[in-house]
């Protein structure tokens, strides 16, 4: 069949060759290959040209034709006749032709398939290459984006340069640099212009700086030269001074001594310096009985002063660590050298150490009655001043001595100022650190003979504690709270107060001294003008204690009303007449003579009577206590004693007749023994002509 086919093909090819090209001149092998090539090309073209659908229908048609021929042949073979053989041959030819056509169709199909595949492959390649290109482009785009970002983030050095503000720039810079017509609109150009200007300016300034530093060096050199010359003058001056000394002695001029004092005054701590300066000035101007002196170790003060200076210089660096410690100097050296406990102990000591120099005021110097010396010490750590009085007086009685005792002579210069609290609100926290309380601190101060931190002493020295004023560092502490004005303002009044206190105490001392020795003149009196005949007598005048005073029931009234406090002075006087005894508890306020002494009367006669259980004694006490000090400072106690004694007499003389046997008889003249519903007694003395009579209050 194949041979047949191929022969058929050949024949058809030949036919086609004849039909299409008609060119038979090309012969030989080459010709044959060419033809093949041509055929292939031709078929390819044909396959391209012809529609595949039509070929499909043609294929079906051809197949059905072939089938019909096979059926016909089959039918003819059954006949098996000659004629039919003939016809079979015929049909075979026909069938072969159809077969050729089939083959042709098949070939066309194959070509088409291949062409399709080729096209697909070609497309695929193209897509791949495009894809690659796309990737490349994306990558490139990313890269570029990053570059752009980097550009955006770029920091120019010029941004760190501080430039003058725009307005200033346009105001000061010359037109050549600022070029406003251009830079106004263009920000970049403006920036450049401003940088330009900055550079220009800075260059000029650095040149100026150089010039000035040269000038400074010159000046310092000059100063050095001059200082040297001054130093060389000193020995000459000293020699001159030495030469004038005989003259000074001859003329009794203490110039040099004064210089000495001023030199040590300069070493004083600021509060004490203020008080020293102010009081000396005040004494010189107004009151010659006051003198001021500086005492203490000058060398130590000098060391402290120097340390203070260098301390101040590096204070800024150490401020944070130093805040809790206010003692200047010493500290930093010790910090590293000692263990923690020792450091605390040292710091505690430093805190509680007074400034080495103290100021002493002498009031009523060289007066025959005695003088008082007040020593003021400043505690730089605690920031307050203490005052310690010293008394120099000739004669002292036992009870009287207490009046001028150093304990309380300075308390209550201002109301409620007993020196029992630290005036500095910070103190509590400062000493807390060392496990001390205020009472212990004050006991320590007392033990060391430093006196008490009275409020007036702070004002005296110009220290003003305002509780809510924050003063964190030492430097601000000094500048804020030590005020020159305050010191200046308060010095005269405090000096006057101190003087009057001292005078009052001296007066009180005299009164009590007299009472103690029962050396009182009872007949003359400033208040109750009339001379009185007093039958009772004072047998005892002793000082007593707060404990004893407050333990009495009848004194509770005074304590409750705050008329009597533990800071006052207490005395016990005993008056007797016959079997009756009057015990008087006397309280002299520490701010005497502003407050009258308060008497409390207790009568022992037929039972115990006092103001609580007996209205008559209450009235007597009222009478004793109603003398005012205003006009009778010097004899208040004896006046009160006199009232107590005459009241005692009157009580006994009005009460006595009721008892039998009558111990006390009427000795004094009174209009009525009793008056009014309260049956008050004639305690009051009046002069009626030449007679002295007693009447009700």
């Amino acid at each position: 069949m194949v041979n047949k086919d191929s022969s058929e093909k050949d024949s058809s090819e030949k036919k086609r060759r004849k039909g299409s090209s008609g060119d038979s001149s090309s012969g030989g092998k080459q010709n044959k290959e060419d033809a093949y090539e041509n055929v292939i090309r031709h078929e390819e073209q044909e396959a391209h040209r012809r529609s595949a659908d039509k070929d499909k229908t043609m294929f079906y048609q051809t197949c059905s034709e072939l089938k019909k021929i096979f059926e016909e042949i089959a039918a003819l073979k059954k006949d098996n006749t000659e004629k039919s053989n003939q016809e079979i041959i015929e049909k075979r030819i026909q069938g072969s032709l159809i077969f050729v056509a089939l083959k042709k169709l098949n070939r066309l199909d194959k070509i088409r398939l291949r062409a399709g595949r080729d096209a697909l492959h070609k497309e695929k390649l193209r897509v791949d290459s495009n894809r690659l290109q796309l990737q490349n482009l994306l990558y490139e785009a990313n890269h570029l984006k990053r570059e752009v970002q980097r550009c955006y983030q770029f920091k120019s050095q010029d941004e760190e340069i501080d430039l003058v503000s725009e307005e200033e720039f346009y105001k000061n810079a010359p037109e050549s640099i600022s070029r406003p017509q251009k830079t106004k609109s263009d920000e970049h150009a403006r920036r450049l212009a401003r940088l330009d200007w900055e550079l220009h300016e800075r260059k000029e300034l650095s040149a100026l700086c150089k010039k000035l530093s040269i000038a400074k060096q010159d000046a310092s050199k000059d100063i050095g030269l001059k200082a040297e010359r001054l130093n060389s003058l000193a020995p000459c001056l000293e020699a001159l001074l030495k030469a004038t000394r005989p003259l000074q002695i001859a003329l009794e001029m203490d110039i040099e001594k004064e210089w000495e004092v001023q030199k040590s005054a300069r070493l004083l701590s600021r509060p004490l310096y203020l008080v020293y300066a102010n009081v000396s000035a005040y004494a010189e101007a107004c009151d010659s009985s006051i003198t001021t002196t500086i005492e203490g170790d000058e060398d130590e003060a000098k060391i402290l002063d120097d340390e203070d200076k260098c301390d101040d210089r590096d204070d800024d660096d150490n401020q944070e660590s130093d805040n809790e410690d206010l003692e200047p100097g010493n500290r930093k050296v010790h910090h590293k050298r000692y263990s923690k406990n020792e450091t605390i102990e040292i710091r505690r000591k430093n805190l509680l150490k007074p400034h080495p120099l103290s100021v002493s005021l002498t009031i009523n110097k060289d007066s025959p009655h005695g003088q008082i010396i007040i020593t003021l010490r400043y505690f730089p750590g605690l920031g307050f001043v203490t005052a310690k009085p010293t008394i120099e007086i000739n004669n002292t009685g036992v009870a009287a001595g207490e009046v001028i005792s150093t304990e309380n002579i300075l308390s209550c210069i201002y109301a409620d100022d007993f020196g029992e609290n630290s005036p500095n609100p910070k103190t509590k926290y400062q000493i807390d650190e060392y496990h001390m309380n205020e009472a212990e601190l004050l006991a320590y101060l007392n033990e060391q003979n430093f006196g008490k931190p009275y409020k007036w002493a702070q004002r005296f020295c110009g220290i003003d504690f305002v509780p809510d004023k924050p003063s964190t560092s030492r430097s601000s502490f000094f500048s804020d709270t030590v005020s020159y004005e305050l010191a200046q303002e308060s010095v005269p009044s405090i000096v006057k107060h101190l003087k009057s206190r001292w005078q009052a105490r001296l007066g009180l001392y005299k009164q009590i001294y007299a009472l103690e020795n029962k050396n009182i003149d009872l007949s003359s009196d400033v208040i109750d003008v009339a001379p009185a005949r007093i039958s009772s007598s004072l047998v005892q005048w002793l000082s007593t204690t707060w404990e004893e005073y407050s333990s009495s029931l009848s004194t509770q009234r005074f304590i409750e009303e705050n008329l009597v406090t533990s800071h006052d002075l207490f005395y016990r006087a005993v008056i007797t007449r016959g079997s009756a005894k009057l015990e008087c508890l006397v309280c002299i306020s520490s701010d005497f003579p502003n407050t009258t002494p308060i008497w409390n009367l207790n009568l022992c006669w037929n039972g115990k009577h006092n103001a609580i259980n007996n209205a008559a004694i209450r009235e007597m006490e009222h009478w004793v206590n109603s003398i005012s000090t205003a006009k009778t400072k010097s004899c208040i106690l004896s006046a009160q004693l006199r009232r107590a004694m005459s009241g005692f007499d009157i009580f006994l003389e009005t009460e006595g007749p009721f008892y039998s046997p009558a111990e006390f008889t009427q000795d004094k003249t009174f209009l009525k023994a009793f008056r009014g519903r309260q049956r008050s007694r004639p305690y009051k003395i009046v002069q009626n002509g030449s007679n002295v009579i007693y009447k009700q209050i």
Binding site: T595, A615, R618, N625, F658, G676, R677, Q678
Partner: protein, 337 residues
């Protein structure tokens, strides 16, 4: 000692009286001041007070302090027909009481007590009693006499003289007047006839006399049948018709005040307790007082039931149920001036 401190410590209440409406209490003292207390306010406070809380709260204070005369004590006080009648030294004066403003107005009248030529002191007006029916005021004075003053025209109508010492207390009933004196007698007077109709001398009674306290009679109170008096001698109860001492009241100290309270007798004096007795002289109650001595007791049942006791103390004791002290008024406050 300053004047204000002295006032605090030595204030002595000498007299008290209640206003007609019964809502105000007037208290006079030795410094010449009158304290005005609103009883309604005290009552209101009293409700809020718990007995336990009392010590913690600040003491009550008077609404107003009115100074009559800083030199003379307010010895006696009476209230009558809108007037506060104030007896000081040598004078009796009437002040208008302004109920709405709660203020004492100006002095509207004054009667001077005539002083005897030989006396160098003006006479105290120790006690006053008003006969409400006849508008007559009876004042027992320091010059040994009782004066009858007509409140209509301020005329001194009668003088009851006969006592040998100053008068402590005056009271009356219908046409009779009773006066207690320092001379130790209680004298009964007939008001219309102005003469003595009887007298008691308790110090002559051996059961009553306490010679160490003196013979003076400090107080007298009467009802239709009974009279109580006391002073230096013991407090005693007398039957008015027979003039016999029926009961001796066991008050241990000097007597300054006596009152009838329903079926009880109230006695106060120089003793830290006020005593209440039944009519057969049994002690019913002993209530504490603030001062060393009581000089004035006032009491009322309507509109606010209370008894107020003042004496030698800056505190006024108020008893709203008569049995225990439930309010203490601090008259001068201890604020610093």
């Amino acid at each position: 000692m300053g004047f204000s401190s002295r006032k605090l410590l030595y204030n002595t209440v000498l007299s008290q009286t209640l206003s007609e409406c019964g809502n105000f209490l007037f208290v006079g003292n030795n410094f010449g001041d009158i304290f005005i207390l609103s009883l309604e306010r005290l009552e209101a406070n009293n409700v809020e007070y718990d007995a336990k809380e009392l010590p913690n709260k600040s003491p009550l204070e008077p609404t107003l302090i009115f100074t009559v005369d800083s030199k003379a004590a307010v010895n006696s006080l009476k209230f009558h027909r809108g007037f506060l009648i104030v007896g000081t030294v040598g004078s009796i004066a009437g002040y208008v009481w302004n109920e709405d403003k709660q203020q004492i107005g100006k002095k509207s009248w004054e009667v001077k007590i005539p002083s005897a030529p030989e006396s160098i002191e003006a006479a105290d007006v120790n006690f006053m009693w008003v006969d409400k029916a006849s508008d007559n005021l009876f004042a027992g004075c320091g010059d040994h006499a009782v004066y009858q003053i007509s409140l209509e025209d301020g005329r001194m109508v009668r003088t009851f003289s006969g006592h040998k010492d100053y008068i402590h207390c005056v009271t009356g009933l219908e046409n009779n007047l009773y006066s207690a004196s320092e001379d130790g007698t209680i004298v009964f007077w007939d008001i219309r006839e102005c003469k003595q109709v009887g007298r008691l001398e308790p110090h002559t009674n051996a059961d009553l006399a306490r010679p160490e306290f003196g013979k003076w009679q400090g107080t007298v109170s009467v009802t239709n049948d009974w009279l109580i008096c006391g002073g230096g001698p013991r407090a005693s109860m007398w039957h008015l018709r027979s003039l016999e001492c029926t009961n001796i009241l066991p008050f241990p100290e000097k007597v300054h005040c006596s009152e009838f309270l329903d079926d009880l007798i109230v006695i106060a004096g120089e003793h830290p307790f006020l005593h209440q007795y039944s009519f057969n002289a049994e002690v019913v109650a002993e209530v504490p007082i603030s001062g060393a001595s009581a000089y004035s007791v006032v009491l009322q049942n309507e509109p606010i039931k209370l008894m107020s006791v003042g004496g030698a103390s800056n505190f006024l004791d108020i008893y709203t149920n008569f049995n225990y002290r439930d309010l203490i008024v601090k008259l001068y406050s201890s604020k610093k001036d």
